[in-house]
Every structure is written in C-alpha cells, then in structure tokens.
C-alpha cells in the first residue's frame, strides 16, 4: 500500500487539537508545557465548554498560555492565579475556571493563594506543572527542587541545612477539606499522556459539577534549566523525581 493511500482524511486517527492555535509556541524543544497544553485544549473541546472555560495563566514559562489555547484567559500576577480564578468562578458561576501554574508560581510566591483557594474549596481546577525549577528566569532553585539537585542558585546541589526540604505542596492540598480530587501525573510516555488527559478531564468535570477544588500536578521536565537533552530529562525525571513525587491519585472523593 502506498503512503498516499494511507494518508487520507478518512484514515486520520490523531490530529493537533482544534483549540490549540497554530502559532509557534515559545517553549524550548521538548518542554513538558507543550504536551500539557495539548491535553488541556483537547479536554476543553471534548467537554463542550469552549465558551465557558476561563484559564488563568501564571508568571513563569507558561505566561503566554493565553496565546496558545483558544479559550478565555486572564493573566494573573505571579502566584495570584488561584485568587483571580476565585473571582472568575464566583462572579460568573457558569464559567469553568482553571489555573495553569508552575512550581515557583504555585508553591513559592503563591503559596498563600494556593492553600486558601483550595481550603475554601473554590470550584476550580489547578493545573500544577512541577518541573522542580524556575524555568523562565534561568533555572533557579524552587521549593520543589530535589535535595542534591543542581540549579543556578544551588550550583553544588540543594542542601537541607541551607535550603530546607523539597515542598510537596500537593500532599498538603490533599489534606484540605476543600479539595475533592488531587492527583499527580506525568507526560513523558504515551501511556502517561493518556492518564494525564483522563485526570484533567475528571478535574474539569468536578469544576462543572461544583464539587470543589481539583488539583492536577504534572511532574514535568525543564530540559533547558536542568541542562539535559529532552530525552535525558525524561529519564532523569523518572529516576529521581518520581521517588519524591510518586505518581497516582492522592485523593478521590
């Protein structure tokens, strides 16, 4: 069979999500953010909420998410996405509101907003892209940086006496009565991509059904900040990150 007989519209089984704008994304080659964007775009379209979905983009590499996924967006100040999402969700309850935040945004400067929005049980989805580093600003240590991990501000590796322990913020959020669904996923293999999509779908459904706050952590790579090839970064993540941040559901209710 010739290629042109296979590559026909009726045989198409996978295409780029329609909600993903066909503009060039600024992310580094191989960055996890791109994969997660695709999944968010697919889930919003499949749930039929394109006109009701409101994203709140962070400060961090994903600051321009509003240029890539074609729904409504608000850009929040650094760490304040959960507070902005609270307003967007309360003032217009028809909205299905989600935040998209990095680990610096969500678990450093925005810790208070994160914890209080989840504790109030706001009907929002919090998508937490944990790449254990401040990607955007050049690879500084984040609260989530692993012990021993080298970053621009921990050039000899993170030390517990100097820098404290890595913060598992998702484990804290699980304990709060306001959260209805807390899960930790990754997007480094086809199977994990599928699982993350299912998790996002569940989280958005919870927001539609006003069940409370859903948190979807995606343990991710920042190959530029980690100074590895995309492929090596995925391997390093599987070897080191999953030990501290094990994948799976932390809370289902």
């Amino acid at each position: 069979m010739e290629l042109q007989d296979i590559i026909r519209p009726e045989n198409k089984v996978y295409a780029a999500p329609e909600l993903l704008d066909q503009v060039h994304m600024h992310y580094c080659p191989g960055c996890s953010h791109g994969v997660i964007h695709k999944l968010v775009a697919e889930v919003i379209a499949e749930l039929g909420i394109t006109e009701r979905a409101v994203g709140v983009s962070p400060v961090g590499c994903a600051v321009f998410a509003y240029n890539y996924i074609d729904c409504d967006w608000i850009e929040a100040a650094h760490g304040r996405a959960p507070a902005v999402a609270t307003a967007a969700s309360r003032l217009w309850p028809e909205n299905v509101v989600f935040t998209y935040q990095g680990d610096g945004d969500m678990s450093a400067i925005g810790t208070a907003e994160t914890i209080h929005a989840a504790n109030r049980g706001e009907n929002i989805v919090m998508i937490f892209v944990n790449n254990a580093i401040y990607g955007m600003t050049g690879g500084q240590m984040a609260p989530t940086t692993l012990l021993g991990q080298k970053t621009a501000t921990s050039p000899y590796g993170r030390r517990v006496d100097l820098n404290g322990y890595p913060l598992e913020i998702t484990n804290l959020l699980k304990e709060l009565d306001g959260t209805c669904y807390v899960t930790r996923q990754s997007v480094h293999t086809p199977a994990n991509v599928r699982k993350t999509k299912a998790a996002l779908k569940k989280a958005f459904q919870n927001a539609m059904e006003k069940k409370g706050t859903s948190v979807v952590e995606v343990v991710s790579t920042c190959n530029s900040g980690w100074k590895m090839s995309p492929e090596k970064a995925n391997e390093w993540m599987a070897q080191h990150m999953f030990e501290k941040y094990p994948l799976g559901d932390l809370k289902l209710s």
């Binding site: 069979m1 290629l3 007989d5 296979i6 590559i7 026909r8 045989n11 198409k12 089984v13 996978y14 295409a15 780029a16 999500p17 993903l20 066909q22 060039h24 994304m25 992310y27 580094c28 080659p29 191989g30 960055c31 996890s32 953010h33 791109g34 994969v35 695709k38 997007v187 480094h188 293999t189 086809p190 991509v193 599928r194 090839s229 995309p230 492929e231 995925n234």
Partner: protein, 76 residues
C-alpha cells in the same frame, strides 16, 4: 487476521527537533533529518522507515508541539 498499516505526517516548520517522538516510536519509524533543517534551524522529524509504522499514535501523543498527524488503515 487483519494487518494494521500506519503513516504519519510531520508539520516540519512547527517541529523543534526535540527527538521525543523518535524515542517514543516502538517501531523505529522516525528519525530527525540528519542534514536538512527547517526555517528555524531545527532538524525536523520524518518517517525514515515508513513501512514500519503501525499508526499507534505514540509519537503524536508525546510531541510537545503538536506537529504529528497519524493515519491508520486495516488491511485484510
């Protein structure tokens, strides 16, 4: 038994040559162009071994830049 035959297209200008699709492909269908680059200077992915493709979508799922479309037919 029905045999599956697949094929992919790569949006070569969108591709950043990250190699993740090449790693994810279970049949070694894909490679990065060894010499040729796109307008942004990336060695883009292509089917170097098109006969091997089974249309499993692994490459497309892991592609961060949504470059890949997958096609599949059943042969009787």
């Amino acid at each position: 038994m029905a045999k599956i035959k697949g094929a992919v297209t790569v949006n070569k200008e969108r591709c950043k040559g990250c190699n993740l699709c090449v790693v994810a492909c279970p049949t070694d269908t894909l490679s990065l162009q060894p010499l040729e680059v796109n307008d942004r200077g990336y060695h883009f992915a292509y089917m170097s071994n098109p006969d091997a493709c089974i249309g499993c979508c692994s490459c497309a799922l892991v592609c961060p830049d949504a470059c890949i479309e997958v096609y599949r037919v059943k042969l009787d």
